[in-house]
């Protein structure tokens, strides 16, 4: 083997670099997020499954309709009327941003820009 003085350190740096997640976590997988669900409300505007995959799209739609098109009409699901509003509808039941929104968003490093305009509840 030639130039082992340069190649072996280079290779070691490469392997250490590729395996950074192993050294960084050092065997501790951390805790999976457990968002706190509202105690008194039983149903949401969509099923839990659809909310999990599509809540951000729903909120974007509501924002566009309300703010850009000026359509503040309500939506009716199972005979119950809901306002298209993050603060008045979502946060009505999910009162805590920290215990609900942030648990998952922090874990997956998702930074929604809801709170650029909305004022987060004081907690």
């Amino acid at each position: 083997m030639y130039d082992s003085g340069k190649i072996i350190p280079g290779l070691i740096i490469f392997v250490l670099f590729i395996t950074i997640p192993i050294w960084y976590n050092h065997g501790d997988a951390g805790n999976a997020p457990k968002p706190e669900l509202p105690k008194d409300a039983k149903s949401c505007v969509l099923s839990a499954e659809d909310m999990r995959s599509g809540h951000m799209q729903l909120l974007n739609e509501w924002r566009d309709e309300v703010l850009r098109d000026g359509d503040r009409g309500t939506i009716t699901i199972d005979g119950k009327q809901y306002q298209k509003s993050l603060m008045l509808t979502c946060m009505e039941c999910h009162t805590s941003k920290k215990k609900f929104c942030d648990t998952c968003h922090d874990y997956a490093s998702v930074k929604p820009y809801c709170w650029d305009c909305h004022i987060a509840p004081v907690e």
């Binding site: 030639y2 997640p21 995959s53």
Partner: protein
């Protein structure tokens, strides 16, 4: 055929994953066993290839130069094109690795009536090449949010920067667009340019299709087929993999497994393909050697260990035979001490 077969291979890989995970219990196989195997193949294969290359001797000093070499004091040296010491070589390598400098010099030859041959600068390959490579780097850094808990600042910073346009929800990543654009150009070039098309082989098309497959499944999963793509379950699996306690806590959509399986195929394929230029670029002797063959003697490591053999030594070795054959010698045979040998024999 050259592109039909690699394309079919990538489609087959996707189908294997999509159908495979429908079998109960196979989620663990596709989510845990295959990724570990692929990573082991990647790291083991990468080191093997580097060692294999490091064992090859470089018999001559062969830097490619395209500028004025080091000469007399009043002749200006082109330090990047003809480096003559380590720091100049490092600068040259740095620009090569980070800015793809030799692609920047790419030219296109055209023959006009006359006949007249012209060379014109052609920077498209450089542009889309660098676009693809840096996009891919950002994509890999972004994915580290799945493997690290808590997420380091650099990773979330890159992610915020990448989704800065705030288009749609989940926000569009700029690198998703540029990565696919880069790949499509690199593929289109092989189809449209007759010279490149002629020299393109199946193993040129396969990595392109594979990377396009990885990007497509990833984009589909984030923006379009979101059902059951539970990001937290995926992160639990990913963090579990790097902490050696993998768990699959929820039902994850088949498209995630297709994405993962293609990435595993890429990792396993990497060390045994042209993609090894990632390690190889550091080991190209035409780039990493200094143009100093008139200052430093380059010894060919192939050279056998030959001791000097003078004529006097040669004659000492063959004197008897030379005298026997009547060849003139400079020094005669020593007189035979016959008496002594007789005494000893007695």
């Amino acid at each position: 055929m050259k592109y039909a077969f690699p394309f079919a291979a990538v489609v087959a890989l996707v189908l294997i994953a999509l159908i495979g995970v429908q079998i109960p219990g196979m989620q663990y196989f596709f989510g845990v066993v295959i990724p570990y195997l692929a990573m082991a193949l990647f790291l083991g294969g990468f080191c093997y290839r580097i060692f294999y290359w490091a064992k090859s001797p470089v018999p001559f000093k062969i830097p490619t130069t395209c500028g004025q070499g080091y000469s007399l004091p009043w002749i200006k040296q082109d330090k990047l094109e003809a480096p003559n010491n380590t720091s100049q070589v490092v600068a040259r390598m740095f620009l090569e690795i980070f800015l793809f400098r030799s692609l920047w010099r790419n030219t296109k030859a055209t023959v006009y009536d006359g006949p007249k041959l012209t060379y014109e600068s052609s920077k498209w390959l450089w542009l889309f090449g660098i676009l693809f490579h840096y996009s891919f780097l950002v994509v890999v850094i972004r994915h580290m949010r799945m493997f690290m808990e808590p997420v380091p600042f650099l990773v979330s910073f890159v992610e915020v920067g990448d989704s800065l346009l705030q288009i749609g929800a989940p926000t569009m990543y700029m690198t998703d667009v540029t990565l696919v654009l880069g790949l499509l150009f690199l593929f289109g070039r092989r189809l449209v340019n007759p010279h490149v098309r002629y020299i393109s082989l199946a193993n040129d098309y396969f990595p392109l299709f594979l990377l396009l497959g990885v990007a497509t499944t990833g984009i589909m999963m984030r923006f379009f087929l979101r059902t059951d793509v539970d990001i937290n379950a995926i992160k639990e699996l990913a963090v579990g993999l790097v902490t050696f306690q993998p768990t699959i806590t929820a039902k994850i959509s088949a498209i995630f497994y297709a994405h993962l399986f293609l990435v595993c195929a890429l990792l396993a394929y990497f060390p045994f393909s042209k993609l090894m230029h990632m390690g190889g670029v550091f080991m190209s002797p035409t780039r990493n050697m200094a143009n100093d063959s008139r200052m430093v003697r380059h010894i060919n490591p192939w050279n056998p260990d030959i001791k000097p053999h003078s004529y006097a030594g040669y004659e000492d070795e063959f004197r008897e035979d030379m005298i026997e054959q009547g060849i003139p010698v400079e020094k005669g045979l020593p007189p035979k001490p016959e008496a002594e040998t007789k005494e000893e024999a007695e």
